[in-house]
Symmetry: D2
Subunit: 258 residues, 4 copies
């Protein structure tokens, strides 16, 4: 079993981003922008409604406060600033979920906040505290072996691990930087095989050939990739053929005893 | 019985506004800014904590999105824009309340949003829908006889009515515009007598001498007034001498059968 | 002779809007967003550079401060607020023009600021003062017969009048509201004929058949219209066939003795 | 001869910061906030006017875009982002200066932008390019021996060096971090003596006793210090007694042949 997640609701006012309507039917989890890097109250409202109608679980996708930078630039915040910024964003999204008769299920930090929290214990601690302060039942989605994963566990959160299907891995389980040749796969076949291996064997072959253990509860599809829709469709077909069920994250976690 | 409310948490980042620490012990309800005209996640967090420690009920104080104008300028929004902006702000504050083991009790729109909703049915409807969408158990604080009061009732919200102690009234129960001589009282005695009359007789004497019926569940003290602290102390003494109890809004409403 | 203008540089950060690269070769004047409704310093820089390379005159396109509303909502500002907001935006754009060895030539207010200034003398006066305060040599682009045109003249600015080729007119020379059937033309032929008549005869046929006098120095092409590029090409061909020269606004104004 | 500078215009909307009216008569140069960490178009307008009336030279005080953090947090921007953000801010201020019949004289980056540019060649290069792109005649105010000073010189800008009177120095000429005991002087006498020694001998005694060479063209008085006004008065008296003239920065630089 595996969950499929993507970032949604990243439009802002008149500024339209992404192909949400096409992606939603292919997902089981949506990471919804909360206004700090994208998303505004109208976008949040209609994104949550669309997820509700499609039976897709809603998660929060909080960011550094940086609309013009789309949350892709590191801001040197304190743990307390991260905690309160995350709490604010997750709670705001929770309001739209309540309005539509559902709840926020998970939190996945966005962009530079996510990347920086992989290696900064302080930042990771702040993020985890913000999530737990809002609702200790929320699931933190992150990469295994990171500071963010450790901080989530220390804060008593359920932690779900995500894998990337179109990105090359380092031997330590981190992603190869986008600036390095071969870091991003353009071959759908290769990506699909990496996904399948992660799910069925719990391993990934790093760029140098090392076989690395990776537990994967959810796979991330980048919604801003123009081929994301076609790619997700192919992945779903391949997973079905291999007998892998695409299921909501809470079922995946329950099956793992998490 | 009467509730006493004031606007709190109107600092923003390094910009400090108000004398919250001195006001809190004198209040039973706080209207806490939610980031759109003032307030940021750190300010919201510490304001809610301070209210929690003092036993003051927390309400949301949503605004038009206008930090540089402090929410005092009318923005021509649709009902849906008002609804979603209010929902976002109230929900964000609710997160900080959950973190501190309490809930949001009421909502009082701020500044131009409050004033404009007195006379615009569309805007009032949007605000009421945003509050009800977040939590139908929230109390809407507004002036009696306004479009906002009507919209709140139509949306199924409990509506609490507020009176102003330092402002002159028109014969129709609205406030005399600040631009008119005599609209703002500078004499604490006069203000205290107006407060007492509103509570004990349910009437106010308008600027032209007309006696107007006004139901009052809560009295508003303007926290940005430099004399607010001294004034609130005097008011509390006078109310005590007259046998009026200052109690949380929910008790006042329960006593009225609201 | 006629000038052709369109709104450019309305992207913001990662949010991409418009087809600037295709529009620029067809224009003689660009109205460049200045950060309040769209545009950011990077977008402004590359838009000004592209205009410089194509020989297109650069104008400022200031707005109410309303990124999420794209400047399309009226904000109830004072004349002084409008003046200083306009001055800030025009001056910021002037910096990018200096960097690229050119100057700001004209100012055309955006969206709700433009529409509201047609009928509000206070707002119009503030806008005109902001433009004149920045540089009294700037040309104000607006519609004839409006409060904005009057305020521009009173402030000593050169005023250029613009006509709309794809919009129906009222008998008083104002535009028919978009909410009314027939207000927006979808037939390029009709739009082109209206343009030609405005230029060669100085008149437009209103929706009710009245022939209205309109002086037109520049024609506005809406860049957010998906057919804008094809339409502008057809208009240029038709104008050339009719012997109308498309020239920079300053030449058009000089020829008129303005 | 020495110039005295302070940060002014750091209010924002209704949020009031600083004691500008009392500081202005004591200064020869003002660093005026440009809207990214503080300051708004109204604040900029009245600050420039007040400087004009008092004969104080106006400089721009650009920042990272971080209103809620008051520009005190490092944002990981590219050189191009810094360049365009600085250009936008300096140019916007230049508009208010033109309106009041004066020009921007200098640029001093604010807060984290200033500190980070001391050690980041990339960031320093971007800042210098932004200043030069706006007006190559602008003076860059910074600390001697920093990457910012080098980048300013490489960009062809006149560079003026500033000294801090109430802060302890390291042996390499940098400031001792505020987190270290003794880094900030609370004794006006000690601060005044440090100022005098910097001006008359061109040296400062570091915290460890080392005598360090420092060229100083302007002294910075922190306006957010509650004692700044009293302190600046005392400094002026002491400088007068020692025969040091307080003169506009351009005269100080001219006397040094800069």
């Amino acid at each position: 079993m595996i969950d499929l997640n993507a970032d949604l609701g990243e439009s802002f006012g008149s500024f339209v981003v992404g192909r949400d309507a096409e992606l939603i039917p292919l997902l089981t989890s949506a990471n919804v922008a909360c206004g700090f890097h994208a998303g505004d109250p109208r976008v949040m409202d209609r994104t949550v409604r669309a997820c509700r109608e499609a039976g897709v679980a809603v998660g929060a996708h909080p960011s550094f406060p940086d609309l013009v930078g789309f949350g892709r630039r590191v801001l040197d915040v304190t743990a307390h600033e991260a905690e309160t910024d995350v709490l604010y964003q997750v709670a705001a999204l929770a309001g739209f979920c309540r309005r539509h008769g559902m709840g926020v299920r998970h939190v996945k930090p966005h962009g530079a906040l996510y990347n920086q929290a992989n290696r900064s214990p302080e930042l990771a601690r702040g993020i985890a505290a913000g999530i737990a302060g809002c609702d200790p039942g929320l699931v933190l989605v992150c990469q295994p072996g990171t500071e963010l994963a450790l901080a989530g566990e220390a804060a008593g959160l359920t932690v779900a691990f995500e894998g990337f299907v179109d990105r090359a891995y380092n031997p330590d389980g981190t992603l190869v930087s986008r600036s390095i040749e071969g870091s991003v796969y353009h071959d759908p076949g290769r990506a699909t095989e990496q996904a399948l291996r992660m799910i069925t064997e719990g391993t990934v072959v790093a760029l140098d050939g090392t076989v690395v253990d990776v537990r994967v509860d959810t796979l991330c599809a980048h919604g801003d990739n123009p081929e994301a829709v076609a790619f997700l469709g192919a992945l779903r077909d391949r997973l079905a053929a291999a007998g892998v069920q695409v299921r909501p994250l809470r079922e995946v976690l329950a099956a793992r005893g998490a």
